[in-house]
Assembly symmetry: C2
Amino acid sequence: MGRQREFDPEDAIAQAVNVFWERGYTEASVQDLCKSMDINPGSLYATFGAKQDVFRAAIKHYLSVVTHEGIGRLGSADSGLEGVKAYFDYIVEGILTGKRCNGCFGTNSFMEVSETDPEIKALMTEHFRLLENAFDQALQRDGFSETQGKASFLGCVAQGLNVLARTEPERATLERIVSNALLVLK
Amino acid sequence: MGRQREFDPEDAIAQAVNVFWERGYTEASVQDLCKSMDINPGSLYATFGAKQDVFRAAIKHYLSVVTHEGIGRLGSADSGLEGVKAYFDYIVEGILTGKRCNGCFGTNSFMEVSETDPEIKALMTEHFRLLENAFDQALQRDGFSETQGKASFLGCVAQGLNVLARTEPERATLERIVSNALLVLK
DNA sequence: ATTTTTCTTGAATTCCAATTCAAGAAAAAT
DNA sequence: ATTTTTCTTGAATTGGAATTCAAGAAAAAT
């Protein structure tokens, strides 16, 4: 077997998510990553491959967390509409109080590298589809009509919020956006 | 006086916009810029300063064009609502047939560098405000209520479209998003 | 105990793109 | 015409960040 790893790769990737989230792909140096992951370059390259591979692993890790924490709410509420509200609450609260003050790590990354990293582009496009489907099913559950179109619309609003997140918006602004968006479901 | 410039700085910046738009700030090399601007590094640095300065000039150039071509439609239509429709048409058509298949250069840039370039962040935040104000005035013109909130909402949808632009969306998807967004104005 | 395997360390290396600069060329001033 | 000023050219330089690697350390196998 030989010597065993002194760190947990998944914990390390969770740290990498924070670094990439705060600085973006390009601005995050391998040194930054090593410091936060608490490992040396040699270990990083031996375990994960190149910087780009660390980034891809970070995106995958992030998407699985968001899929549980965020999209999960869409299905587990008392009604579809409650689920939609719960999802937007999650986004808005994240922007105002949490790490989402820097926007959505997925959306940020998609905007930064989708032209140079087809894998990231594919992962994020798939995630957008996943979110839309979750909206769609939530609306179907409540018996809405034209659920597909409304789901696309809600997905668009969510991405808009992720952009505006980086303008340091006020709570009132975000809440009015969401309440206007929800008017469509009437 | 001495020797005179062999190129027009504004034309050169217009070319720089294309390069940065296609490749993003980081991926666009000074070499790429020089080739498209049809000048050499020495001339570039002497005229505009560093790469970052070229980028800022490109953003300013782009914003002034968009303010005329896009936001201009909001005020010059027969009614506020027609203006709003004309604006979204401009965005959607740009995504489907024009350079906006790569998204909005402003939004892309904002997402890429807002954490590392405060000037770009400020320019774009101001532009978002400008767009929102234009929506606001268009709605006021038609006698809508709560125009401020609706304007923020429309601004959010516009940014969402700019994100989705990079997923190679279908026309039907974009049009349904817009028509759903316009339902709020009823 | 010794050997083998695998991990860790962090300095050295490599690579690449931004920037500079010295030499040549054009326009104006004297 | 000569000098001065400013622009152009593109090769050379610089600087910084990604990546490699040789030496040391821990765990297991023999």
